[in-house]
Symmetry: C2
Subunit: 431 residues, 2 copies
């Protein structure tokens, strides 16, 4: 009878006399009479020992299957090795030379080269670790929200109008029509809240045809979107995001200790995320750093400096900025009652990078209509969206977190492309 395959992470606890492993050839140490091979599977690396020299035709990165007895060896990774009795090659190698070394632990190739050979790069345990962390993020997001009665939804990415997002939108040739790729599920998540779902979230792609090619921009990214009905105001949303981040960090400390360690990350326990108004932040930047900010916003340099200040003063990696002016937020943003030039919206800055924009939305049909007009747009261009506000839309709001940005910042990666399996930017649509 064929014995069951054992994953490397389960090898130590496996009590069978003989075990069978599968994976890729990570390293070959040919010592003449004896050969050590490191086999890498999804869960780890284990040492195989061949006592009759190097197996014929064995090359790095072939996929193989090996069967043998487990032997304790304190010098081997994980403290054990397999004395191989039988080995077969499952997937052959057809290369002359690997594009770069993947078993040295150090990546020497430039990022663009790494991305060109993405299926090779992803084999490096340290690169693989990024996506283990990313998977925990989406898992924590989903678990946290479903526990609060949020429903997961899937909304269309092909849309009829680019009214929400201006010019930075990709066009699609949709039969005889021109359509667009959505920049966010904003309208649809609001509509679905109003349609009785009350609390929704979506983990889906969003598209930005931005002419930026920087370390923090992607043209296709995964947006963690939330929309919540029957809120008091935008503080409910900041509380929700704070709760999620606490929950996430606990889960990461529990499930990704190894991955975090590879990046030298010690995740802090989040207690309370400081909240400050944008105008206060402007003062701080001017006062502490002599830094002037653009009206109604802070720029990339300001985000970095402010995070530095918040870290020193409050020992927090995060800061909520509130009180953005009406003129700098979309037309659906709820204005503040105290100061109608300001909105009930916020950004979340994490280690010098904006990872969230959120806020309360206007829920009253007449008010939204008027606001669209105030913004110099025509309410008639917002057909089905505006229409859905006629039928008892409750007070609501939401937020969105860029999955790749959050991943990047948790692991202190330098470039957002590192936290995307197959990134899309202005120059790259392959692989």
């Amino acid at each position: 009878m064929q014995i069951q395959r054992t994953y490397v992470c389960d090898a130590a606890s496996n009590t069978e006399p003989e075990i069978l492993v599968r994976g890729w050839v990570h390293k070959i140490h040919d010592l003449g009479k004896i050969t050590f091979v490191h086999l890498r599977d999804k869960t780890g690396i284990i040492q195989l020992v061949f006592t009759e020299g190097k197996p014929e035709h064995l090359r790095l990165e072939m996929s193989i299957e090996a069967k043998g007895k487990k032997v304790e060896n304190p010098k081997a990774p994980g403290g054990l090795e397999i004395a191989v009795e039988k080995m077969s090659i499952l997937g052959k190698a057809y290369y002359d030379k690997l594009p770069f070394e993947i078993n040295s632990g150090k990546m020497k190739a430039a990022l663009e080269t790494q991305l060109d050979h993405r299926t090779i790069t992803l084999r490096m345990p340290k690169v693989r670790a990024i996506f283990k962390v990313q998977e925990e993020i989406t898992d924590a997001f989903r678990t946290y929200l479903t526990g609060l009665r949020f429903s997961e939804i899937h909304t269309p990415k092909i849309i009829s109008s680019s009214t929400e997002g201006g010019s930075e939108v990709f066009t699609v040739n949709y039969f005889e029509k021109r359509a667009f790729l959505t920049q966010s599920p904003q309208f649809y998540k609001q509509m679905t809240v109003g349609a009785g779902f009350e609390r929704v979230f979506e983990i889906g792609h969003a598209y930005r045809a931005e002419l930026h090619n920087t370390w923090r921009h992607l043209n296709e990214y995964v947006s963690l979107d939330i929309e919540m009905g029957f809120i008091k105001d935008e503080t409910d949303l900041m509380d929700l995001e704070e709760g999620f981040l606490k929950f996430l960090f606990e889960q990461l400390r529990r499930n990704c200790s190894h991955e975090l360690e590879m990046y030298g990350i010690e995740l802090p326990v989040i207690t309370k995320i400081p909240r400050m108004t944008l105008s206060y932040a402007h003062e701080v930047l001017l006062d502490k750093f002599g830094k002037k900010s653009p009206a109604g916003n802070i720029d990339a340099e300001g985000e970095v400096l402010l995070s530095k200040y918040v870290k020193e003063k409050y020992d927090s990696d995060f800061v909520f900025l509130t009180g953005y002016p009406v003129a700098k937020r979309p037309m659906y943003t709820m204005p503040s009652e105290e100061d109608p030039t300001l909105t009930k919206s916020f950004d979340l800055i994490y280690k010098g990078l904006e990872i969230t924009t959120g806020g309360q939305r206007i829920h009253d049909y007449e008010m939204l209509r008027e606001n669209i007009t105030k913004f110099g747009m025509n309410p008639d261009d917002f057909g089905f969206y505006l229409e859905s506000f006629r039928y008892g839309m409750p007070p609501h709001g939401g937020l969105a977190i860029g999955l790749e940005r959050l991943t990047m910042k948790i692991l202190d990666l330098e470039n957002i492309r590192q936290s995307t399996l197959y990134p899309r930017d202005m120059n790259r649509i392959e692989p």
Copy 2:
């Protein structure tokens, strides 16, 4: 102090003297001195009693908040009602007339009208139920697969080449280039398996520019994709799908009994799904129904007749069809060893509709190269995909399930648009 909001489904178990509920006005019975109002929230319907006549300005579908004492009343839905002490309108109504009745339990409007007013349709408890079931499907899919060490991935939907799918593909204007919307994550999920992830799944959008406008076609749909490395052959994949469906049906029986009941559905316990070759199915169709089939496939009518036969003979709603000919499957499909004109692939038919195509893939670089040539295509057009097969690609295979098709068939819906929040078809990109 403001009391906490109680969801309708928790009202019975709530022990506070006074409760606060929020939701939409589902029904109004104005009896002069006394008015009964049904309030609908995400979780159910509860009766509110106003003893001083109809509250001013109250209209159907407004969103409101009501506070009062809980009173048992066997005649009320759920056996209890709230004697309202305070009510406030949270979201106003701005309509002259609802587009159709949504509290009668019967939908009288045509499907196209329902879809035009989707945020109204979705308020009907029976329509809402579809998406509760759909959410359980994705949840079960994810839970089942992560339990088997599958990793959830997100692959790009904007791709550089339409080589996989022929002409039925949407084009995107991507900066100065022409790009395409992916028809499936096929290439990327295979590549990610080979990159060391071994077992992956994705819940994501897929796009088909098909010129069909039928009850079973969508141009944008959610694909439940699986790809699995180190398989023996395609039977591993059929076993996996069978395991998932068993798991799903158990979860639905547990969590969606109310929703299934609304549609009069009693889900069978799945034991073993029959597997038959396509050529045997052709014989059955000819023999039992005098039905001729197209070469190497069965058509929509054949699917329905075959399901009828399988139901009678094996008491199964499902049937796997195997042994599809090489000429009818994509170039990456693994040919059979016994008969090289056939492939190691399968379809799954559920209640007369194909919901899955799957199979083992060719994993050897040279064999894949040759097969691409045999199919009359140029291997050089498959750059990064083919390239990823040079580095020890293990035996692997996968399958995809159409989420909307599965939802539709579980609930015996007539049209696939019913199981999509905001469907996209040849004529519809709104709302």
